[in-house]
Amino acid sequence: MKFSTVKKYRRRHKLLGALLIRNPVLVLGLDLPFVIAAATSLKNAAAMAIQIFIIHTGTMLVGRVTCTKLHRWQAIVANVAAATFMMMVAQVLVVALFRGISNSLGMYLYLMAVNAMTVFQSSALPKNAKIWPVFTGALSNALGFALVVGVVALIREYFAFGSLWGISLPVLIKLPALAIPFAGFMLMGFLLAFTRFLNKRLLALSLLETARKEARYTKIHVDSVETIDL
């Protein structure tokens, strides 16, 4: 496989990368506890997505400053303090938007302050990091988290409780076990497998497209290119 092709593929699927190829939850395994234990309803998922959006983006911007001004260990402490502050701000918004979310999310509402994605990524910023890529990267990571937590919560709420966003819907068979954390692990496993399959498929399509272009350029018969296994 040509490295230039892979690079081109990554550049082309930049947004898709944050959602699928380099998804912080699906690929890096960050913030798994929130998805596995707390994502049992769409309201929970929305609350967590908003919180992560505020905490992660804000802390990453703070981290951009601390990584240049402070030592690494000092930067970590400052970033966690910033994340806690962001969590308090986000909590005010989330509690106002979703009634009863404190009872529903419990300690996970507060644990978001030290979520692995924010702590890990804000402390690993290079000293010469530019502000715009840091901001867009944080946004896309928050979006990736929101996607996974949303999908898991949707499946679990519908099949476990027979409702969506608290509205009852007809369901063939209710499976209350899906609301238990072990079902969250199972769902994550299947999501990971699906993402891997999708990534492979996208990469293969990209390779095929590039190979076709090269074949046209070098006047090689295209039939031989189409034998790439999808």
């Binding site: 068979i173 209710k174 499976l175 209350p176 076990a177 238990i180 199972m186 496993g189 299947f190 497998a193």
Partner: protein
């Protein structure tokens, strides 16, 4: 060990037993249990078995195809899983519950790990556990065996109907009574004969024991693990009785109630999800016996043995590793003794 030589195709030296023969033996004894279930509960027991096997086989084929491999229905592993599941449930269980359990058993506990021979957890135990969490009421409501039950249309029927709505008188299972700390109302002899409400295949104690003997005789199940398992459970029940009665009587009720005997023979006997070495097997069986009794004593559910087995399945690698270490030490000791004897002879 009996081996055959095959000059044409590799592997050239083969054991007589393969997955198909082992599963065939298990199917044979499960058929006997289905006959007993038919005698106690009627045709619905058999229909549940057929339905479960069909779902398991379909899920297995679909899962294998999704892994881009050729389906091997002839290895019969899906059939065994399908036959085991309804036998652990009451005969009044709805078909959809069996279907859910079968799909979970094959599509979640077996195929994602790589299919036959690669699953970490026992598929039947996983399917049963999932169904027990989702459908607690249906899973632990047991009809009385051989009882005149009223059919859906109102006419008198001896057994539960194969299809249609169910109307039956449920009995109090000994596991429920023991969990409350009371004494079960059934005689021990009646329980040995299977005349008490419970899972449709797990109440025939004498038949299950005969099945165990057959499987041990056929080398399908090793004797050491069931003996260690039942021995540990026996001792635990003797030392810590759950209800106010004679200790031996308490042991009798504990051993004959619920899925203990059935799981000890069919779920713990699974060669894939249990340790490989003899010593590891014994240790695994003994620890599993204690864990099962602890789950029974402190667990929230009436029948939590499958959860204990799943927990033990997760520790199988540890038992294998410890067994290897012990055997390694024994081998080293033997070599040292042999070398010292050699030196002495030379001297």
């Amino acid at each position: 060990m009996s081996l055959t030589a095959n000059a044409l195709y590799a592997p050239h030296i083969r054991h007589h037993e393969n997955t198909r023969t082992v599963m065939g033996d298990v199917i044979l004894v499960l058929v006997v249990l289905y006959i007993m279930a038919y005698m106690h509960y009627g045709l619905r027991a058999v229909a549940l078995g057929v339905w479960s096997v069909a779902i398991c086989v379909l899920a297995d084929v679909a899962g294998t195809l999704m892994r881009r491999q050729r389906p091997h229905i002839r290895d019969l592993s899906a059939v065994v899983t399908g036959m085991l599941l309804p036998l652990m449930m009451p005969v009044s269980i709805p078909y959809r519950v069996v279907a859910v359990a079968a799909v979970v058993a094959v599509a979640v506990a077996k195929q994602p790990f790589g299919g036959v021979g690669h699953n970490v957890f026992n598929p039947a135990a996983a399917g049963f556990s999932f169904a027990a969490i989702c459908f607690g009421v249906q899973m632990f409501t047991y009809p009385e065996p051989q009882q005149a039950l009223v059919g859906a249309a109102g006419e008198e029927a001896v057994f539960l109907p194969v299809l249609g709505a169910l109307d039956f008188v449920s009995g109090i299972a000994p596991t429920f009574t023991l969990r409350l700390g009371a004494v079960p109302q059934y005689e021990l002899l009646d329980m040995a004969m299977g005349n008490y409400p419970g899972p449709m295949g797990a109440t025939n104690i004498l038949v299950i024991l005969a099945c165990l003997l057959y499987l041990v005789f056929r080398n399908t199940v090793r004797w050491d693990m069931p003996v260690a398992f039942f021995g540990a459970a026996f001792l635990f029940a003797y030392i810590f009785p759950r209800s106010q009665m004679d200790r031996l009587e308490s042991v009798g009720y504990e051993m004959m109630s619920g899925l203990l005997l059935f799981a000890g023979v069919f779920l713990l006997g699974d060669p894939v999800t249990t340790p490989k070495r003899d010593l590891s097997k014994v240790a695994f069986g003994a620890v599993a016996g204690v864990v099962v009794m602890l789950f029974r004593r402190f667990g929230n559910m009436e029948e939590s043995i499958t959860f204990a087995i799943l927990l033990m399945n997760a520790t199988t690698w540890g038992f294998d590793m410890l067994g290897e270490r012990v055997y390694g030490k024994i081998r080293r000791h033997r070599v040292e003794v042999f070398n010292s004897q050699k030196i002495q002879k030379k001297a």
